[in-house]
C-alpha cells in the first residue's frame, strides 16, 4: 500500500508540475497574466485529435504542429488582446480569463463533449517497480516533467531572453531603458508558456478523455501550484507540486476521492492567508523593506 502511494504520489506531482509550468513562466516569471492557460491546454488536446482523425496526420507530426500552432496562438494573443491592457493587472486577468472561457464554451457548443475524444499514448505496456504496476506513459510523464523543470531553470537564469523576461517582470521601465523590447519579450513568454501547456496536454491527456471542465481545473491547478510555491521561483513549482501531488494521492487512497479538488482550493486559501508570497516567494519580503 505504501509503495503505491509513493509511486503514484510522484506521478501526480509530475502531472501537477507539468501542468503548472507554462502558467508560472508567463504569469510568475515574466509578470504577464495568461488566464486562458486552461483553454490552450484543452485546445491542444482537441487540435491533436482533429489532426489525427480528420486530416489523418501521423502521430508525431500532429504533435509538433499542435505545439507550434498553440505557441503562435499565444504570441498572437499578446499582440491582439494583451498589448492594449499591458500594465493594468486586473484588465490583463479579466481579458485573458474571458478568452479562456470563450474558447472552452465554443468547444462545448460545437459538441466536443462525447466520450470518443481521446489521444493515443506514446508507448503501450507497463513495468512493475517495487511491486507497483506503472505504465510507460506515466513514467514518460515523470521524465518530461523533470526535463522541463531543468530547462525552465536554465532558460530563465542563463539565456538572454529568459533574463529579459525576468527583467520586465521586476521593473519594466528599467528594462526598456536598457534596450529590452518589453512587448516582444512578453509576447515570447506567452508563446513559450502556451507551447508548454500543449506539451503538458499531449502527454497527460492520453490518460483519460478530453473534457471541457478539465480546462477550468487546469487553471485551478496552475494557480494553486503557483501560489503555494511562490509565483516567481522555479524550485517553488517543484516543491509545491510534490506537496499537492502527495496530498492529492493520500486523500484519494485514505478518504473519498471526490475530496481531491477540495484539497487544491483549501491549499490556496491556507497559503494565501499565511504567507501570500508563497513558500519560496520573495515579493512580499522586499515590499516590506521599502
Amino acid at each position: 500500500m505504501i509503495g503505491s502511494v509513493i509511486v503514484y504520489g510522484l506521478v501526480s506531482s509530475a502531472v501537477l508540475a507539468l501542468t503548472a509550468m507554462g502558467f508560472s513562466l508567463t504569469f510568475g516569471i515574466s509578470g504577464v497574466a495568461n488566464f486562458a492557460y486552461g483553454a490552450f491546454y484543452i485546445l491542444s488536446g482537441f487540435l491533436v485529435w482533429m489532426l489525427l482523425n480528420y486530416l489523418k496526420f501521423p502521430f508525431v507530426l500532429a504533435i509538433v504542429v499542435t505545439i507550434g500552432v498553440v505557441g503562435v496562438l499565444g504570441f498572437v494573443t499578446y499582440w491582439t488582446i494583451l498589448l492594449r491592457v499591458r500594465g493594468v493587472a486586473l484588465s490583463e486577468v479579466i481579458a485573458t480569463f474571458a478568452l479562456g472561457v470563450g474558447i472552452l464554451e465554443l468547444f462545448r457548443w460545437l459538441g466536443f463533449v462525447t466520450y470518443e475524444f481521446t489521444i493515443p499514448t506514446f508507448v503501450k505496456g507497463m513495468v512493475v517497480i517495487a511491486g507497483v504496476p506503472l505504465d510507460y506513459q506515466r513514467l514518460f510523464i515523470i521524465g518530461i516533467a523533470s526535463a522541463l523543470v531543468l530547462f525552465l531553470y536554465f532558460f530563465t537564469h542563463y539565456t538572454r531572453i529568459g533574463l529579459a523576461m525576468r527583467g520586465i517582470a521586476q521593473n519594466e521601465r528599467t528594462a526598456i531603458s536598457l534596450g529590452i523590447e518589453s512587448d516582444i519579450t512578453a509576447a515570447l513568454s506567452l508563446a513559450l508558456g502556451s507551447a508548454m501547456a500543449s506539451v503538458a496536454a499531449i502527454v497527460i491527456l492520453p490518460l483519460g478523455i478530453i473534457s471541457i471542465n478539465t480546462g477550468y481545473e487546469v487553471l485551478l491547478i496552475a494557480v494553486a501550484v503557483g501560489i503555494v510555491g511562490g509565483l516567481e521561483s522555479v524550485p517553488g513549482i517543484l516543491v509545491a507540486s510534490l506537496i499537492l501531488g502527495y496530498a492529492q494521492v493520500i486523500t484519494g487512497t485514505y478518504f473519498k476521492s471526490e475530496w481531491m479538488a477540495v484539497v487544491y482550493l483549501a491549499a490556496i486559501v491556507l497559503v494565501l492567508a499565511i504567507k501570500p508570497s508563497g513558500l519560496f516567494g520573495k515579493f512580499k519580503e522586499l515590499e516590506e523593506r521599502v
Binding site: 492594449r84 500594465g87 533574463l163 525576468r166 531603458s177 534596450g179 522586499l286
Partner: protein, 247 residues
C-alpha cells in the same frame, strides 16, 4: 552630438517643458540643473525615448494626454519619434532617477540582464570596467540587489547603464538621497566614465558637487531655460549661488 530645438511637452493642459533648446558636443559633461519639478526628468525621458512608452501607456489607460513637440537630433539624425529600444542601440542610454534596479536578482544578474543587447565578445571587458569604477560592487556580487543600500543600488544602476556601452550617457539625478561622501565618490566615477570617451548629460538638484566637473551647464526653472554657461561662470554667478546652494 545632440541638439534639441524648441522642445515643448504638454501633460494634458499643463506645460512641463516650454520651448527648450540645448546642445551637447562629443566628449563633454553637460549639467542640467533645477529644483524639483522643474522638468528635468521629463526632459531626460524625452531624449531617451521613454516618453513614447509613457505616452502609449497613458493613452491606453485613458489618463493624461501627453503631447511632445519640437525636434531632438542625435548626430544629425532626427530621433524625436524613434522607439526607445532603437535609441539604446544608437548609444543613447538613460539611468533613471531613484536608482532603478531589479530587486529580486543578484547584483551580478542585474548586470547580466543589462548586457542584453551586447552580442560582441568584449562584454567581459565591460564587466571589469564596471567593477573597477565601483569596486564595492565586486564583493556584493552575490547579494540580492533589493537588499543593498541606496548608495550601492545607485552605483549598480549606473553600472547597468554602462553595460550597454553608451556613447551619450543620460543620468537623471544620480546624487539624489546620497550622503555627502557617496556624492563625492559618484562625481569621481562620472569623471572616470567621461575618460572612456563617453559624453555625459546629467540632471541634478544638488549643483554644489557637480559644478566643478561639468564643462557647460543649463539652469531650468519650471520647464523654461533660465541660464546657461560654462561650469566656472555658473559657480560665481550670484543668482545660481542663492537658488541652489542655499547660502
Amino acid at each position: 552630438m545632440l541638439e534639441i530645438k524648441n522642445l515643448m511637452v504638454f501633460f494634458e493642459n499643463s506645460l512641463a517643458i516650454n520651448d527648450l533648446s540645448l546642445e551637447v558636443h562629443k566628449g563633454e559633461i553637460v549639467g542640467v540643473l533645477g529644483s524639483n519639478s522643474a522638468g528635468k526628468t521629463t526632459l531626460m525621458n524625452t531624449i531617451s525615448g521613454l516618453m513614447i512608452d509613457i505616452k502609449r501607456k497613458e493613452d491606453r489607460r485613458g489618463g493624461e494626454r501627453i503631447t511632445v513637440l519640437g525636434e531632438v537630433r542625435f548626430e544629425g539624425e532626427d530621433i524625436t519619434n524613434m522607439e526607445p529600444g532603437k535609441r539604446v542601440k544608437k548609444g543613447i542610454v538613460l539611468s533613471r532617477e531613484r536608482h532603478p534596479i531589479f530587486p529580486d536578482s543578484s547584483v551580478e544578474e542585474n548586470l547580466k540582464i543589462a548586457a542584453y543587447l551586447r552580442r560582441d565578445a568584449d562584454v567581459k571587458k565591460t564587466y571589469e570596467f564596471v567593477y573597477t569604477v565601483f569596486f564595492r560592487l565586486k564583493d556584493l556580487r552575490k547579494r540580492k540587489a533589493g537588499f543593498c543600500s541606496g548608495g550601492e543600488q545607485q552605483m549598480l544602476a549606473i553600472g547597468m547603464a554602462l553595460m550597454t556601452k553608451p556613447r551619450l550617457f543620460l543620468m537623471d539625478e544620480p546624487l539624489l538621497g546620497l550622503s555627502p561622501i557617496l556624492q563625492r565618490d559618484l562625481t569621481r566615477a562620472i569623471k572616470q566614465i567621461r575618460g572612456e570617451g563617453v559624453t555625459i548629460l546629467v540632471s541634478e538638484q544638488f549643483a554644489r558637487p557637480l559644478l566643478p566637473i561639468i564643462d557647460r551647464g543649463y539652469v531650468i526653472e519650471n520647464g523654461i531655460p533660465v541660464l546657461s554657461g560654462t561650469g566656472q561662470e555658473l559657480i560665481n554667478n550670484p543668482e545660481v549661488k542663492a537658488a541652489y546652494f542655499g547660502v
